[in-house]
């Protein structure tokens, strides 16, 4: 199978007048269609930087990125969900979701905008809130809107940068299930940065562990458990502990 996204030795050093701060030292990752990849690593190792480079918000110093092009009009190769929902507070939920579709880069005709919005509102269970405003929604619902806004441009790859870290455990689990549903329903490849080993083992097909800064891929752990996964199951716990040790750089017992 052809990868939908190929990162080849991505290197990035942050420079300012005082010092050079190397963040990524040659990160190579392949992501395949309909795959959920979780990226983990010690904090400050450059996980978010990697996503921002994939999305074009930062430029890599060296290395190449190959991304499959969007298959239909008005679709982007990648879209991103940030740690905070960052909804536009002056727009209704509906207007937030279709924001990207109305930009000249996408030029989606208005009836298709309506169609896509309706489908996304249904997918994310936000139907009854279409005309509400962000401040009227809970944190979890706001993050759902952010996910819908990113999905509206039908990306090949959805990037998520610790999207649920600010949410409570129950909301978080709901949204994790939703991510799996989105992958199944929209056939999107999802790359999620997380610092929660349980979350990674719960949703990921593969977990990519980055080393300390400057980061390289130190290990790739496949998670071969059927969905829905049971966080109390022995295999689940074994992988979760393995991931935790790998991130912390501790030896196996």
């Amino acid at each position: 199978m052809e990868p939908v996204l190929t990162l080849n030795t991505i290197t990035k050093t942050f420079r300012d007048s005082e010092q050079n701060c190397p963040a990524l030292a040659g990160v190579s990752i392949d992501a395949y269609p309909r795959e959920i990849l979780c990226i983990m690593g010690p904090s400050g190792c450059g996980k978010s930087t990697l996503l921002r480079i994939i999305d074009g918000l930062e430029q890599a110093d060296a290395g190449t990125i190959q991304i499959a092009q969007g298959t239909m009009a008005g679709s982007l190769s990648v879209a991103m969900v940030f740690q905070d929902p960052a909804l536009f507070p002056w727009l209704s939920i509906y207007e937030n979701i279709v924001y990207g579709l109305r930009l000249t880069a996408q030029k989606v005709p208005e009836d298709e905008v309506n169609e896509r919005a309706a489908a996304l509102l249904a997918l994310t269970h936000l139907d009854s809130f279409a005309h509400s405003y962000p401040h009227q929604l809970s944190g979890g619902m706001q993050q759902r809107v952010a996910v819908a806004r990113a999905l509206a441009v039908t990306p090949q790859v959805l990037l998520m940068d610790e999207p649920f870290s600010a949410l409570d455990t129950f909301t978080r689990r709901e949204l994790e299930d939703e991510v799996i549903r989105i992958r199944d329903g929209m056939k999107t490849t999802i790359i999620m940065v997380t610092h929660n080993p349980e979350e990674a083992v719960y949703i990921a097909d593969r977990i990519i562990i980055l080393s300390e800064r400057p980061a390289v891929v130190s290990e790739v752990l496949p998670v071969d458990l059927p969905h829905p996964r049971d966080p109390a199951g022995p295999e689940f716990i074994r992988i979760r502990e393995l991931v935790t040790r790998r991130v912390l750089g501790k030896p196996d017992p």
Partner: protein, 261 residues
């Protein structure tokens, strides 16, 4: 629907009580002093206020003078906004523009608008044009400074969302920067309307004007008609209050999201 709570009524009552108290003290003092050249009685002031369409002191009516001032304020305020908002957006958005223009703004900003009067008269002659120029000078800077602040306060993350969805730079400004900065720009407009209103009265008091509330106040002073001055001041205060109420209503109507995002 607006619900007025008991607390609101109580607060209005408290405010009203102080106003009544001041009026009472004024009236007692006026009755004791018995000198219309020092303190006119409330009765004399309200007589002027109750006949707003009657000619005052052989000239235009109270309303006509008020409309003249209002016309000058709105004209100056509108020109100031049309100039200051685009410039403010530009300076707020571009560090380069900020480097160029910030020093000159910081130097000109503290100059009291009325200090421009001699130049105004030299450039525009005596009359409405000079007054409007003074108002523009007064109203321009609060709008400009607030627009710059508003743009700089727009969350970086909002712009990143727009960039992530491939918005062009123009679209980023139109769909994120302007709406994101608008509540602060609105505050600038509100402040500058107050400044404009002060400018108009001060500018009209200067020699050479022949209409407006500032002119009326100065004219009444020269004729020793202090009750007209009192009436003019009350009108000025009431219009300021009305304008502020409109701006505040606009804020809660359009920018209720502010501080809750």
């Amino acid at each position: 629907m607006v619900l007025i709570s008991k607390q609101d009524i109580l607060n209005y009552g408290k405010g009203l009580a102080v106003i009544v108290l001041i009026l009472l003290i004024w009236e007692v003092a006026a009755l004791v002093i018995q000198n219309n050249y020092i303190l006119p009685t409330l009765g004399a002031i309200f007589t002027v206020l109750l006949h707003p369409f009657a000619p005052v002191l052989g000239g235009e009516s109270l309303i006509a003078n008020m409309l003249q001032s209002l016309k000058e304020v709105l004209l100056g305020f509108f020109c100031a906004a049309v100039l200051a908002i685009p410039i403010g957006l530009w300076i707020g958005w571009s560090t380069e523009a900020r480097a160029y223009f910030n020093p000159v703004i910081q130097i000109l900003r503290p100059v009291p608008p009325i200090a421009w009067m001699p130049f105004a008269i030299a450039w525009f002659g005596i009359g409405i044009n000079s007054v409007v120029f003074i108002i523009i000078m007064g109203a321009f800077f609060p709008i400009l400074i607030n627009t710059v602040d508003g743009v700089q306060g727009v969350r970086r993350r909002w712009t990143e969302v727009a960039m992530m969805l491939h918005a062009t730079p123009f679209e980023q400004v139109r769909t994120v920067v302007v709406p994101g900065a608008l509540p602060v720009i609105w505050t600038g407009l509100r402040v500058s309307f107050g400044v404009a209103w002060m400018c108009v009265v001060a500018a009209e008091m200067l020699p050479g004007t022949s209409a407006g509330l500032g002119f009326l106040i100065m004219y009444a002073y020269n004729l020793g008609q202090l009750q007209v001055i009192g009436a003019g001041m009350i009108i000025i205060g009431l219009i300021g209050l009305c304008a502020d109420t409109v701006f505040r209503a606009g804020r809660s109507r359009f920018f209720s999201w502010q501080g809750r995002e």
